[in-house]
Homo-oligomer: 347 residues x 4
């Protein structure tokens, strides 16, 4: 494939602009169209000045546009939108990468409970491939409809994969994931709760009683473990723009002195985007900012029976748009890291 022709549906949000930032630097990608009902007709560089000089594109109306020549359609829409239009896009021959939650959860009833709406397209859910390349790269290659994982779920699944794919190491019913995310996770909606004046200089937990990502995470972890996994998950809101840190606590079953550092290094030795830090180092948000890397550390404090795993990612990149492009690369037979080998801004 010489050039990948791309359309983005719903491009005014932060995952939309992040797709545009990354695709501008991708040698094989050509963004042919980007839609927005509200901003139709407006140049994208007008809404996002960082794109000035990189794109001449204007937002188009979602109902317009000829998808015949499009290879990949990214949905960067709110939950509930992709499910009503994906079918017609697939029928025109394009492959779909959906960044929303619409096709992540296999159990329709669970999805409807957590997202508080009826699912408009349950028949396509079984065909959707969950796009976490480090877990199911093979199925991704031929996916027609790819469900890109959520931001929190990516960090937690990568953080636990080495422990869960080997049975009997940890208690799979008592896992705790304490996560903190930058404010871009809340999107670009006008909302008093996410004003600078409300988020700045503060820190707080939210959705302690239950967050929508919980069923997705438990499904993913159970798939890896091939048995039921139960998790306590508490997200927090950080006064930074980008980044997720998940601090994960597990109870060890096997109390023998396993070399977890070696286990993790081995598990990810062929993964370009997963970086197991040397023993004694802890990952920081800024070490992955703007990149598709997930950096992971594993510690057994005082040799006791809890293991602490910390995993960082950029929620807009590996947690959303970067992972979407990583999936695109796999689906199109390109090098997985093409256009994604960026260096994090530091400081």
């Amino acid at each position: 494939m010489n050039v990948i022709n791309i359309a983005i549906i719903g491009g005014t949000g932060y995952t939309g602009v992040e797709l545009l930032r990354l695709l501008a630097q991708h040698p094989k990608a050509r963004v042919q169209a980007i839609s927005s009902r509200a901003e139709a007709g407006r140049p994208v560089a007008d809404l996002y000045p960082n794109l000035r000089g990189h794109y001449d594109l204007k937002f188009s109306h979602p109902d317009e546009g000829d998808f015949g020549r499009i290879d990949i359609v990214f949905f960067a829409t709110p939950h509930g939108v992709a499910q009503s239009t994906v079918k017609s896009v697939l029928d025109k021959g394009a492959r779909v990468i959906d960044l929303s939650a619409d096709f992540r959860i296999r159990d329709i009833e669970t999805w409807e409970t957590w997202y508080a709406q009826d699912h408009q397209c349950p028949e396509l859910v079984p065909e959707a491939v969950y796009g976490l390349p480090e877990v199911n790269r093979d199925e991704i290659k031929s996916a027609k409809l790819l469900a890109c994982p959520g931001c929190y779920p990516t960090s937690i699944q990568l953080g636990l994969k080495p422990l869960l794919e080997i049975g009997g190491l940890i208690n799979t019913q008592t896992i705790v994931a304490n996560s903190a995310s930058g404010a871009t996770g809340a999107g670009r909606q006008a909302n008093v709760d996410t004003l600078f004046t409300e988020v700045g200089d503060s820190f707080k937990p939210y959705a302690v009683g239950g967050h929508r990502h919980l069923p997705e995470i438990e499904q993913g972890l159970s798939d890896i473990a091939q048995s039921n996994v139960s998790l306590t998950f508490v997200p927090h809101l950080l006064p930074v723009n980008r980044g997720i840190l998940s601090t994960i606590y597990v109870d060890l079953l096997d109390h023998s002195p396993t070399d977890f550092q070696a286990l993790y290094e081995k598990a990810f030795e062929n993964e370009y985007f997963v970086d197991v830090l040397p023993a004694g180092c802890q990952p920081s948000l800024r070490s992955v900012r703007g990149t598709n890397f997930c950096r992971i550390s594993v510690v057994r404090p005082q040799g006791r029976d809890k293991l602490v795993i910390t995993a960082v990612e950029d929620n807009l990149t590996k947690g959303a748009s970067g992972q979407a492009i990583q999936n695109m690369n796999i689906m199109c037979g390109l090098d997985e890291y093409l256009g994604l080998n960026l260096v994090a801004l530091m400081p």
Copy 2:
């Protein structure tokens, strides 16, 4: 007592300036002297412009100063300093409130291991009273040498007290405390790691293998439970100046549907500085900034067998200088909240 005459030893750090801020607004306190080896002779308002108009005081040399007329001496010094001079101060008749870790841990060997130095005054350790008023107010009243609790330990002990003082509710061996602190917790030392450019726009765990506050927390929790308590404690560094949030995870032993909200409200109903939030609310750092309050929430997600407690405080106030003054009020027979009934700055 009409007026409390006060001296502060080591006043250039952040707990020093916080003592000065609070004492300037205390109706019974008169700061007679504040010492600093490095800044002797310099007006305090020159180093801390927020004090302009509130103090005429200059820093004095620690070896000077007549402690005969002093009622209370606060030590706002690095660990290891108070233990070499406390004795002479006590001999002159003043009572001591030590904000450092020197007298917090009863087991000398444990202290020496975690603080990597010999203890200079082990004979006074048994006399020192641990100054967490919500736990041992009665002993504080008559204390001559008071050891003010650490910042992380305060939030975690308050967060767990209602559960631990009743036996059999939770597994005391599997508690997790995931804490995050503002950068003032690292003090005012010139250090590359705490530059704005290193802390800003980031977030990271530290001391995952073991933090000095761990033995203090375990000692305090074990005292409350009257049995051994074991904890996994992971601190994180937030890009904010002030505040600590501890998110605490415990395994319930008694699986019957206890009303934990009621348990917490009852446990703290007479505590001025502990505020149990209504069910459904979560505390934020900024709701306590600059104040001596600790706000707490308790949730049992999905009715499963983990309980999640969140507790916030200002690390410089309830976590250090505010609690020191609360202790002073108790020791001097004043209303516990005198000079401390401040309203948090918001936003």
Copy 3:
């Protein structure tokens, strides 16, 4: 006057909660009512958790409430609201302190041009007293309707007063005021432009072509100078919550070596809330955070013919609610600093 009975109209915004924070710590103030159309019936401490334990008050509907027993009514409403209701409040005998722009500008046409609406109560404009105590304290004492100055105008008028009240010192036609404000200046409206994700980690000018505060500033400066003053004013948005710094540049007319430091110290020697810093010191936002102080510095770089004045204030305190209470104290014959002698939070 033993106790001042107070009502606040429109209390859900940031100037409203700042009034509540300050009045909670004021020994003579009793807030009897606070209204909000949107939040009527809700406890104020529910919306603003920092007020928990300090107020039992609920928001009332603006149309309810008996103003017979009220001494002072604060309007903390958007521009355009006070002008339609002030008359009825005054008729009931209460005095009004309006924090909005409704009565700040004497020329009705100018007001209507900059605020893009018709003025509903032009007949009361001549009676309104402009509430900058350091400029017209005497008229404030007997004011029935007080127009509290804007945040930017306060810092710029205080910064220039010593130069303008003496004729012939500076060119009054070429003044530049380069100001930067924290995000609370934009209020608490849901708005994409003031999301954390839009303001954080950035800095930008706005309203360069003309900001609503320009006519107010020029009117105030002209009053001080007793001649026409012209100003170039450019505001900027800072990624902090609170604070305004105005950096003011003036062309000196008299090129003799005036001692501007002495001039400024003399001009403000009796002002409790204006602090002229020692030569060589520059003010920082945080040195006034949460307080009613304005700190000022004056420098003549390289002895050339420009003078640089820098002035900081907290935009919500001296720039709004604190100044409103300072005015209330003056109007009620109390010590001007009563309840306002707070120490800034630092760091």
Copy 4:
């Protein structure tokens, strides 16, 4: 030239890591050596985790290293270092790009006054080329010793160039440049004044009496105007990591209604890295973060006789390491934007 072999002297500071970040993504650059006296032997990715996976390089001792095969040597050292070693590097045949101030100012006495040290290599100063490509691209092409401009000077010279290169438009003696910089401008030295706890949540001017960049800016502006230019320059410290915004005020001499928007667009129409925003738009720091762009806006408020120019850049990129690489590209006959066509991270 197929590959440019590069050495970096003094690579532990923020301009060093920024060079490494940018050069990692440059298709023709190969970093052969990077020196640091303090960190010799340590892998660069150990000090800067964002470089993990991008470099295998270790810091070398500055006295070691064979410069025979090196084409370009970057000095990312503190002021005063390059001047003592540049000569020997040039003798070995490499070309030098100095990011420090050592060779920026032609008048030795002026340099010695402002930098408070003797110049060690005055004989090379006349040969040094000032590396602001938008002003003197032609001389840069053949430079052996290139003096990279300071961060503030870059933004101010670009902001004023269109006005100064045409005579008679503005008063060249009354220009004001009000600049604000992120904290990376202060470097990576351990220093109480640049701790997170001192810079965060604040804003303040500094060096109001005179900043070292003043003589460099006045020299540069005078070169452009071909006559003496005098400037009042006040820098401020922003609580962000990266970015400079200069707000520039000039007095118009020609009061006829010149179309300054057109003038600016024309002046920079062929400049890849200078972006004149459409009328009505103002630049923000974040629109250039991590990139080599300078975005500029020009406004004449109310049609009066002051013109306001605002210019933003990333102080570490266009203000330092990015501009250094832009110069390298020019010196090596490559496309000026090679490896530098990055899209800013937003948000």
